[in-house]
């Protein structure tokens, strides 16, 4: 069994595995990535209950790559890698949609001037109501 499995498109990433193929413990080498993707991906993969260990490291600051290690309970590690990527994509899509909506609401004529939120509380009750109600409520609170 090969000890090194590479993808053909070299610049993106390849997997390093120890002797005796065990698909649940794999180190991925991701080229041209740094903490930006590394930390975000590590967080999403750790949130998967099947994953026992996930960590990333930048082997040397002069080399533009990260080692991402995943160890799972039984699921092939590459599946949890893919799942982490998909979940991160979904998170980004939701953040983008929320920001665009919020941006649009903010620049509507009803939200005249600059809205200053005095005490920002992290509840969702106001947000779930209709848009107009929210802007009216804040103008009222001012």
């Amino acid at each position: 069994m090969a000890t090194l499995q590479c993808t053909t498109l070299f610049p993106l990433f390849f997997q390093l595995q120890a002797e005796g193929v065990d698909e649940t413990c794999v180190t991925f080498v991701l080229h041209e990535q740094d903490h930006t993707l590394g930390n975000a991906l590590r967080y999403m993969i750790m949130k998967n209950p099947e994953v026992v260990f996930c960590g990333y490291s930048i082997t040397h600051p002069s080399e533009d790559k990260i080692n991402l290690r995943i160890q799972t309970k039984g699921v092939p590690a590459i599946d949890s890698f893919r799942r982490g990527l998909c979940e991160l994509t979904t998170v980004c899509e939701h953040v983008l949609a929320t920001f665009e909506t919020e941006n649009y609401i903010f620049s509507r004529p009803e939200a005249i001037g600059i809205l200053h939120h005095g005490n920002l509380i992290g509840t969702n009750t106001v947000w779930n109501q209709s848009v107009l109600t929210r802007t009216c409520q804040e103008n009222h609170e001012k």
């Binding site: 930390n39 949130k47 991160l88 998170v91 953040v95 983008l96 941006n103 920002l120």
Partner: protein, 308 residues
């Protein structure tokens, strides 16, 4: 019960103590706490996630991102600084420079000038150059392509000072690049975030002590009100606090105040240099993180198709 409250605090707050800051990292991963289901749940996330835009202008945006982890918020901040592309001067062809500014110094300064050109309409440098516009040197010449649409963001940036008889004659090429390559390509003056501070008074604080407490925090955080003839301190707006932890220098106040930060509430401040509006920059940053994930997913798919 007290144990439960402490666990809740560990999971959701960063504690600011007298000598150090504790509970900094997020620990809410599956299996760490018994009785908590911490696996990733997209619906739970979407239910709790909010973005609140507070201030927006052509130059700056201040918005809150609530219900997300620091790893992802930091990814957005890093992308805003280093990976959202802009246009900036790269090559300068000098025909004549008799000023006292050295060629390379002048070229360096030209590179740092922000340009008002939407980088999404351009390709990266491997493509053909599009020489649409001419540099407008401090208001003398008109644009050729579309008047006043493409050019530097600020007309009044001083580049060099000339003495009688000195002359500068040059042509510059602008290219699209990212901040990782050279800081001149960074689209933001800066992009930063801070966590929402949380101030709790553990016991009522009255009289002169209330005044001292008010002075320990940034103005506007604590207000002293007169209730029943006594001065009583109340936390009005913890958001405005700088978290200087000044209160720990006062022996009598140290144990009456709990200072924490909410771990998943990020107050972003993004200042654009003027090429793109800050709201668009944030959206581009999110798209870039998505693009990174998608590249890897496509790679994985291509792999599977080959091996299948």
């Amino acid at each position: 019960m007290a144990g439960n409250r402490r666990v809740e605090e560990m999971r959701s707050r960063v504690s600011l103590g007298e000598f150090g800051v504790s509970d900094v990292h997020s620990t809410n991963f599956p299996g760490n706490y018994s009785g908590y289901e911490d696996a990733w749940d997209q619906e739970e996330f979407e239910k709790n996630f909010r973005i609140d835009v507070l201030k927006m202008s052509a130059e700056e945006i201040e918005f809150d991102m609530i219900g997300i982890d620091a790893a992802i918020a930091n990814a957005f901040r890093r992308i805003l600084l280093a990976e959202v592309p802009t246009m900036a001067v790269e090559k300068v062809f000098l025909y004549n420079n008799t000023s006292i500014i050295q060629d390379e110094i002048l070229a360096h300064r030209l590179g740092l000038v922000p340009f008002r050109a939407d980088p999404r309409l351009f390709e990266f440098r491997s493509e053909v150059y599009t020489r649409h516009f001419r540099w407008v040197p401090l208001g003398n010449q008109a644009d050729i392509y579309e008047p006043n649409s493409i050019g530097p963001v600020h007309k009044d940036i001083l580049l060099a000072q000339l003495r009688p008889g000195q002359e500068i004659d040059l042509m510059m090429h602008c290219v699209k690049g990212i901040g990782k390559d050279h800081a001149k390509f960074s689209p933001v003056a800066t992009a930063s975030y801070r966590l929402l501070p949380d101030v709790h008074l553990l016991a009522p604080i009255e009289g002169e002590l209330a005044e001292t407490l008010r002075d320990c925090f940034s103005p506007g955080v604590i207000s002293v009100e007169i209730i029943n003839g006594k001065k009583v301190a109340r936390v009005v707006n913890a958001r405005m606090d700088n978290c200087s932890r000044e209160v720990f220098r006062h022996e009598e106040l140290k144990n009456l105040v709990k200072l924490t930060r909410v771990r998943d509430h990020f107050i972003f401040l993004v200042e654009s240099t003027g090429a793109l509006s800050p709201a668009i920059l944030v959206m581009e940053a999110v798209k870039i993180l998505m693009g990174k994930c998608r590249r890897f997913i496509a790679e994985l798919d291509a792999d599977e198709n080959e091996n299948a």
